[in-house]
Amino acid sequence: MTDAPLIAEALLSLVLMGFIAVLAVAILRVRGLLALVILLGAYSFIMATFFVVLDAVDVAMTEASVGAGISTVLFLGALYLTGHGEADRQRRIVPILVSGITALVLVWGMSDLPDFGSADQPIHAKGADYLERSLPDTGIPNVVTAVLASYRGFDTLGETAVVFTAAIGVMVLLRRRGERS
């Protein structure tokens, strides 16, 4: 077996990460809010492609449909309500400091992450059990579904409740008093 597929995957990852970096800079620099929303959608979509390269297909599907699809529509709806112009930029020192310090803390925290693709991490030692157990236990070949809906069913109930709460919150905030939608 040659290393050609691995090299191709690494190249693909680099190209996608390059796209993501270019888009991030473009999002920071663009002035029109309509263009900004489209760029955010493109960012999400390339992120979804990157998740496919990382074999996280379920996450990719969610990112593509929610991040690139629904969020873009909701941003456009918000723009329709508020206008397309961006307020004049002022350079303020406190926001720059806050984001700079947050970025530094995140980079510092990243030094504690395991190496990329490292196999001898506790998560693989303990989690791999599901790979063997899930099919005889549940009869479901997709381990992600088996873990989400069966082994971790209570967590998923919580996630569903979060979506429910978000919908209720938006409905309460955006609907005017006495108005039936």
Binding site: T138, G139, T145, S150, F154, L157, T160, V170
Partner: protein, 139 residues
């Protein structure tokens, strides 16, 4: 307001495959990627696309706002009800072993019903949020 004819015709061609794909993602989630959450978002995207092209009033004739508002809690209730039924049958909350004649079938039924609950809540939440945005006039 008449929108571009190309947009309307293209949307008509896309809508049916979009809904079909949502059903595929929902019911094939046991074997491939996807599940209730992704399927709910895709199905909601179909309704939202219809609303974008034909207006919110046309969309509300198919998926009425009051129905959507009732479906939002209904999905969570379906999910929690599966847990309560499994407790009544003598298992832990959301342990599906005794929902059918053997444990594997019970698990399959439990996951199926739970994913249906997730679908209902996600589908209706996305549409409810969209209706809430689209229903307001610019101030």
């Amino acid at each position: 307001m008449r929108l571009d004819i190309i947009l309307r015709v293209a949307a008509k061609f896309i809508l049916a495959p979009l809904l079909l794909f949502a059903l595929y993602v929902q019911f094939h989630g046991d074997y491939g990627p996807g599940g209730g959450f992704q399927a709910g978002v895709i199905a909601a995207a179909a309704v939202i696309l219809y609303a974008l092209i034909n207006g919110q009033a046309a969309a509300e004739r198919i998926v009425p706002g009051p129905l959507v508002e009732r479906l939002v809690p209904a999905g969570v209730l379906i999910y929690a009800a599966v847990g309560v039924v499994s407790m009544i049958l003598g298992d832990n909350f959301l342990d599906y072993d005794h929902l059918a004649h053997d444990t594997v079938h019970g698990q399959e039924w439990g996951v199926f019903l739970v994913e249906a609950g997730v679908f209902v809540t996600v589908f209706s939440s996305m549409i409810a949020i969209f209706y809430a945005f689209a229903g307001r006039r610019p101030t």
